[in-house]
C-alpha cells in the first residue's frame, strides 16, 4: 500500500497496538469557535472541569494546556477577532488535579522565560499533588516581543533557544532525580544542583519528593532539527504536526533513528500528532461540518485581518467578498505580534503576496475565498466514527503514530463526538482501553518505568 520510507526500517505491524488520546486545549486562537449560542466561557473553571471530567469518562491519557505569554496583537493593538485570554497552565491544572483522579495533566511551559529551579519545582508539585499525573510540554520562545513582559526582555538569540532548552531540561531532570527517599534525621532534599554558564545559572535542590511516576512526563512539539534533537534526547512523548500518514511515518522513522543515537529504545517515546477531528453520522455530513468549520474559522473580518497582517496596513475599507486589495503592501517584515511566526518565515512576504494575487486572478477568488484557500488546511480526520477508528487503528498498528492529541474546535461537541462515538468504535476494534489500568500518566502512556 505504501512505499517504504527511505533510510528507515520497514515498520513492524503490531495487531495489539493501542490508540492513546489526549486533548490539546489551546484556550485561544482562531481554531476555537466562540460564536455558537452554547459556547461556554473559555476562562471559567466550570468549563475546564467539564472538559477534564468528559475526558476521564473517555479514558483519555492526557489533557494539555497551551501557552502564550503575550496577548496577540495586530497593527499595534490587541487582536480582537479570536478567543484570547487564558489561565496560567500549572495553576489551572493544579485546580483540576483536585477534582479529577485519572486524567494526565500537561502544562506547556517555555524554557526561555522561566527559571529552571522554579519551573522544575512547580511541575514536581503538580506531579506530587496529582499523584503522578503531571506532564510538561517543553517549548521555546525567542522573540523580544514576548520578552517585553519579562525581566530580561529578548535576551536569548534565536539560534541558541534549543541550547538553552536542553540545558534547562537537563537541570530540571537532575533536580528531580535528586529527590530521593527521606534519609534519617528529617533532612529530605540535600543534593545541590549547580550551573554557572551564560545560558543557565542556578544553585538549588529538589524540594518535593518524587511522585508515583517518578517525575513529570516530558512532551516536546518542536518540528525543527533542534526540536527533534531535544525530543530524542529528553522527551517521553512527541506532539508532532505530522498527521498525514506518509509524513507521520517519515517523522516516526526519523525520530526513531535519532533515539537510537541517544541509546534510547523506540518504545521510550510515544508519538502523538496534533489533530483536528470532524465526526459526522455520514461521510457527507462530516464533510459538510468540515466546510462549515473552515467558514467559521475564517470569517470575513478574519480574512481582512489575515491580509492586514501581510500587507502591514489597515484594510478595513475593503470588501471581504470583493477582489484583493489593490494598495501596495508595506515593505516591513512580518510582525510577530499576531502569534508564533518562526523567524525564517517572517521575510519574503512580498513574493507570498504576489503568489496570492496570481492565484486569486487565475481562479477569480474574493478576499475571503482566497484566505480560506491558503490559510487553513482541511482537518486531517473527517468522517464517520467508524471511518476515523479504522484510520487511527491503521496508524497505530503500522507504527506511524501512537495516537493523537485532539485540538478541539467546538466545546463541548467536538470532544463528546470522540468520547461517545469514536472511542466505542476503537474499543470494538480492540485498539482502545475499556478501563484505566494504571493511575499515573506514565502508566496511561504505557511508557517504560524510569
Amino acid at each position: 500500500m505504501t512505499e517504504p520510507v527511505p533510510g528507515a526500517a520497514v515498520p513492524e505491524y503490531d495487531p495489539n497496538a493501542q490508540v492513546h488520546l489526549g486533548v490539546f486545549f489551546t484556550g485561544v486562537g482562531s481554531q476555537l469557535i466562540w460564536t455558537q449560542p452554547d459556547s461556554p466561557s473559555h476562562t471559567s473553571v466550570d468549563t475546564f472541569l467539564a472538559v477534564a471530567r468528559l475526558l476521564e469518562r473517555g479514558l483519555f491519557d492526557a489533557f494539555f494546556l497551551g501557552e502564550g505569554l503575550r496577548v496577540r496583537e495586530g497593527l499595534g493593538r490587541v487582536f480582537d477577532l479570536d478567543v484570547a485570554g487564558r489561565p496560567d497552565a500549572i495553576t489551572q491544572l493544579s485546580a483540576l488535579a483536585g477534582a479529577t483522579s485519572r486524567i494526565g495533566l500537561v502544562a506547556t511551559q517555555n524554557t526561555t522565560y522561566n527559571y529552571p529551579a522554579d519551573l522544575a519545582r512547580r511541575l514536581a508539585s503538580l506531579d506530587l499533588l496529582s499523584r503522578g499525573r503531571a506532564g510538561w510540554n517543553i517549548v521555546t520562545t525567542d522573540n523580544a516581543w514576548t520578552g517585553a513582559n519579562f525581566r530580561h526582555g529578548g535576551w536569548l538569540e534565536h539560534e541558541r533557544r534549543y541550547e538553552r532548552a536542553t540545558a534547562f531540561v537537563a537541570a530540571a531532570k537532575e533536580l528531580w532525580s535528586g529527590a530521593g527517599s527521606r534519609p534519617a534525621g528529617g533532612v529530605d532534599c540535600v543534593r545541590w544542583v549547580e550551573r554557572d554558564t551564560d545560558l543557565v545559572r542556578l544553585r538549588a535542590t529538589a524540594t518535593v519528593p518524587p511522585s508515583p511516576q517518578g517525575r513529570p512526563v516530558l512532551f516536546q512539539a518542536g518540528d525543527s532539527d533542534g526540536g527533534r534533537e531535544l525530543a530524542a534526547a529528553h522527551a517521553d512523548v512527541v506532539f508532532s504536526a505530522n498527521t498525514d500518514y506518509e509524513k507521520a511515518r517519515a517523522y516516526a522513522a526519523d525520530l526513531r533513528s535519532r533515539l537510537a543515537r541517544y541509546g534510547r529504545p523506540a518504545e521510550a517515546v510515544r508519538i502523538l500528532p496534533g489533530a483536528v477531528v470532524v465526526v459526522g453520522e455520514t461521510t457527507r455530513e462530516a464533510e459538510e461540518k468540515a466546510r462549515w468549520l473552515r467558514e467559521e474559522q475564517v470569517s470575513p473580518p478574519q480574512a481582512i485581518a489575515f491580509l492586514e497582517h501581510y500587507w502591514g496596513r489597515d484594510l478595513s475599507d475593503y470588501d471581504p467578498d470583493g477582489p484583493l486589495p489593490d494598495v501596495e503592501p508595506s515593505d516591513t517584515e512580518l510582525d510577530p505580534s499576531r502569534g508564533t511566526i518562526a523567524i525564517e518565515n517572517r521575510t519574503g512576504k512580498l513574493a507570498q503576496i504576489q503568489k496570492w494575487r496570481d492565484l486569486a486572478a487565475e481562479r477569480n477568488l474574493s478576499i475571503v475565498e482566497l484566505v480560506r484557500a491558503v490559510s487553513s488546511r482541511r482537518p486531517p480526520f473527517v468522517g464517520t466514527a467508524g471511518q476515523i477508528a479504522d484510520e487511527w487503528t491503521h496508524y497505530v498498528r503500522t507504527r506511524a503514530a501512537d495516537g493523537f492529541n485532539i485540538v478541539p474546535h467546538l466545546l463541548p461537541s467536538s470532544l463528546t463526538d470522540i468520547v461517545d462515538k469514536v472511542v466505542p468504535e476503537l474499543q470494538e476494534r480492540g485498539a482502545y482501553r475499556t478501563a484505566y489500568e494504571g493511575t499515573t500518566l506514565r502508566e496511561h502512556l504505557a511508557l517504560p518505568p524510569l
Binding site: D80, S125, R151, T207, P209, P210
Partner: protein, 369 residues
C-alpha cells in the same frame, strides 16, 4: 457591602486566618510521627488541613513557602498547593506566599489571577521577599541591598496590580454580528517601568473575579498602602496595637496580628512544648506566642479585637492544634460575637468587607469621557 472600619478599637468581628503550611510552625512538627514523606506533604494531608480549616470557619488559609525549604525539608510550591485545594473548597480564602524577589513578576500576576478564577474569587497573596544568598542563588542572582529590596517589593506589587486591571471587566464582548470576541479598547498595555524590570502587558489572563487579588504583606516589608492587609508581628498586645496604628497610618485598609499558638490537649501545652523543643527548639520569632489553654487564647484574641481587624493563627502542630482551634476557640469567639464564618460561594473580598475595585483603566476612561 460596608467598607472596613479603619479606626482602632473597631469592636467588630475578627477575621481569622490560619497558617496552613506543612505540619505546623514548630520545627519539630511532623518529625515525631513516622509518616512517609510523600504522604506528609502529599494531597491528602493538604486537603485534610484546608478542609478542616474551612469547616471550622476560618476566612483564609495561608501557605508559607520559599524556594528552598528550611532545614532541607520537603515542601511543594505554595501556588500549586493553593490551586489544588481551590476546587475542593467553596468559601475559604487561599493565600500562597509568592516571593517578589525570585520570580518573574508577570508569571506571579498570572498565577494569582488564575488562582482567583479557579477558586471563583478566593485568591490572596502573601508577599514574600526571600533575599538571602541561597534563595537568590536558585535563580542565579545575588541578594539586593535594603533600598533596592524595598523598591523591588513595591515594583512587583505595583505591576501585579496594574496587570490585574489590564483587562477591564467587560472586555470580552463576543459580538457575533461584527465577529469581535473582545473590545480591544478595554484590553490595555500597562507599560510598567520599574527600577530593575519593565513589563509591557496586558496580562494573558482576563480580569480576575475579585478584580484585584487580596494582598497581604508583613508590615516590616514596608509595602504600606500597597497591601490590602498588613500583617503585624509583635511580642505583646501593646506592641500589636502600636504597630497596627503605624500600619493604618501607612494606608493599610486592614491589619491582622500574627499569633503563634500551642494549645492544651489531653497533654498540657507546656509539656507538649517541652517535648517538641527537645527534638528541635522553636526559636522566638518576635510574634505573639500563646502556649496554654483555649480559653486563654480566646481572651487574648478578644483583647486584640480592639486594635486589629483580624488575626493570623500560626499553630505549632497543625494536626494537634487545629482541632482545638476549630472545636473550642472559634466556637467560643462566635459565641462572644467576635467571629462569623464565611458564607459558601462568597469571594474573599466579600468575606473581608473589602470593596471590589474598578479597573484603573475603566476609571480613566470614565473620567475622560
Amino acid at each position: 457591602m460596608p467598607g472596613p472600619d479603619k479606626g482602632a478599637g473597631r469592636g467588630g468581628t475578627l477575621h481569622l486566618a490560619l497558617e496552613a503550611d506543612g505540619d505546623g510552625a514548630h520545627p519539630a512538627a511532623g518529625r515525631i510521627a513516622s509518616v512517609p514523606p510523600a504522604d506528609a506533604v502529599g494531597p491528602q494531608a493538604l486537603h485534610r488541613t484546608v478542609a478542616a480549616a474551612e469547616a471550622g470557619g476560618f476566612a483564609l488559609a495561608t501557605f508559607a513557602d520559599g524556594p528552598l525549604p528550611p532545614g532541607g525539608r520537603w515542601r511543594p510550591e505554595a501556588g500549586v498547593r493553593a490551586a489544588y485545594v481551590s476546587t475542593l473548597t467553596d468559601r475559604i480564602g487561599l493565600a500562597p506566599v509568592l516571593h517578589a524577589t525570585v520570580t518573574e513578576p508577570f508569571h506571579l500576576a498570572t498565577q494569582l489571577a488564575s488562582l482567583d478564577h479557579a477558586s471563583r474569587g478566593r485568591a490572596a497573596w502573601v508577599v514574600g521577599a526571600a533575599n538571602d544568598a541561597e534563595a537568590q542563588g536558585t535563580v542565579g542572582a545575588r541578594p539586593l541591598d535594603a533600598k533596592a529590596l524595598r523598591r523591588e517589593i513595591a515594583d512587583v506589587i505595583d505591576v501585579a496590580r496594574a496587570l490585574w486591571d489590564s483587562w477591564e471587566d467587560d472586555a470580552v464582548i463576543k459580538d457575533v454580528a461584527t465577529g469581535r470576541f473582545l473590545d480591544w479598547r478595554k484590553v490595555h498595555h500597562v507599560d510598567f517601568r520599574g527600577a530593575r524590570f519593565d513589563v509591557k502587558g496586558p496580562l494573558i489572563t482576563p480580569r480576575p473575579p475579585q478584580g484585584q487579588i487580596v494582598v497581604l504583606a508583613p508590615d516590616h516589608l514596608g509595602a504600606g498602602g500597597r497591601a490590602d492587609i498588613a500583617l503585624v508581628g509583635q511580642p505583646d498586645a501593646e506592641g500589636v496595637a502600636a504597630a497596627a496604628a503605624v500600619a493604618r497610618e501607612a494606608g493599610a485598609p486592614l491589619v491582622f496580628a500574627e499569633v503563634e499558638v500551642l494549645l492544651d490537649t489531653s497533654v498540657p501545652a507546656a509539656e507538649r512544648f517541652a517535648a517538641l523543643d527537645a527534638v528541635a527548639p522553636w526559636q522566638e520569632t518576635g510574634r505573639l506566642r500563646h502556649v496554654g489553654t483555649a480559653a486563654g487564647l480566646r481572651d487574648l484574641l478578644g483583647a486584640l479585637a480592639g486594635s486589629v481587624d483580624g488575626v493570623r493563627l500560626v499553630p505549632a502542630e497543625l494536626a494537634v492544634d487545629l482541632p482545638v482551634l476549630t472545636r473550642q476557640v472559634l466556637p467560643a469567639l462566635a459565641e462572644a460575637g467576635l467571629h462569623v464564618p464565611p458564607r459558601p460561594g462568597a469571594t474573599l473580598r466579600e468575606t473581608l468587607g473589602l470593596p471590589r475595585p474598578v479597573s484603573r483603566f475603566a476609571r480613566a476612561a470614565a473620567t475622560t469621557s
